[in-house]
Symmetry: C2
């Protein structure tokens, strides 16, 4: 008797409102798996009724999480690192390039997204006026983009070759671009354009859009 197949599984919501479609973080994992050419399937959990089993896999009640055999892992950054260790299409293996991948992967999440995601919350709220907190948050993001600009002007991909660091950084910057926040940073905008032109992103994005549309 053959052992049952147990492919890598991404779990995401069954449905989300229109606004976040195309931006739900399962796209990062879909994109990585497409780049690596690893087979996977997608499962859904209810958006409206998050149960104890959901919280046992993702303690914040968010998505995605990934299962692979007896491993269950949450946080898109952790999942991408886990996949990067399985495929050198996602992370170079020499120690210096691996360190470069790690530092840029964390930079995407902890230097850029830590500014950009709260910034987008204010954009969604239409609350971008004259308050001191907003001004500091806006300056925080602009400073990060200003320093990122010469980096992505000077190289095609952050760690030399395309890697999980680019999946995260490009996905983080896409949301800034949605609110025209890259207008003063043409190299950042070009970087997003070349990352999202990759067939693996195009497929991941189309698949996510179709997944949520199927639930309407």
């Amino acid at each position: 008797m053959n052992k049952p197949m147990n492919p890598i599984t991404i779990t995401t919501f069954d449905w989300v409102p229109e606004v976040p479609r195309g931006y739900v973080r399962d796209i990062r994992v879909r994109w990585a798996l497409e780049e690596a050419g690893l087979p996977y399937r997608v499962k859904s959990v209810p958006f409206d009724a998050r149960n104890a089993e959901h919280f046992s896999h993702q303690p914040f009640g968010q998505v995605p999480w990934l299962t692979d055999g007896d491993i269950s892992i949450f946080e898109s950054g952790a999942i991408l690192l886990y996949l990067g260790e399985r495929s050198d299409a996602l992370m170079p293996t020499d120690s210096r390039s691996r360190c470069e991948t790690l530092e840029w992967l964390f930079a995407a999440l902890n230097s850029v997204e830590m500014a950009s995601l709260p910034w987008s919350i204010f954009q969604f709220s239409g609350d971008t006026g004259d308050t001191p907190g907003w001004k500091r948050l806006n300056e925080f993001l602009k400073a990060r983009l200003q320093h990122l600009e010469p980096v992505v002007a000077g190289r095609e991909w952050l760690a030399g070759t395309f890697s999980i660091a680019d999946i995260l950084m490009a996905d983080v910057l896409r949301l800034v671009d949605r609110f025209d926040g890259l207008a003063g940073h043409p190299a950042c905008r070009d970087y997003v354009a070349r990352a999202t032109a990759r067939p693996s992103f195009v497929k991941a994005h189309a698949d996510q859009m179709a997944h949520f549309a199927a639930a309407d």
Copy 2:
């Protein structure tokens, strides 16, 4: 002739204003190195005049970065992961516990700090009034703490044994606690207390305070 010693080196600022003292991110790296018992030295770069060499190591003009032989790596999360791979005092080695460490390490930075650091920017600005953006940001943080509360109530350390995930999560929560943001979350507060009672944190904190005081 002996080869020259080339210990692990943390680079931080020579001086910072009073407010961030005790919270500059070199404390995360000091803490990890103390836990691991790895020898290290601390170098300084000017806070006021950040030069090209600084940006070549840390493209955002921040600190810390770490050098180890011919490796130079920035982002506190990446540095801690790099050190975790050198010492099982910082990261368990079996694959399941390693995944738990990774997911909680990213959760500290990308689920909790992504809410808490912008929240602290508003606290520092005294801008915690009635605007829709601030209210959403405050709810964002509260939701994350509410889900973290039963996790740290139910276990001593996030990945079973003490790890780099705890260094990051405890350091992230310390800044929330500074503004009394853990008042409704006693298990989070207790978790910070037990992490910061560790001799390695106490030494790292004292060393950072002494480093900046020496420059006054």
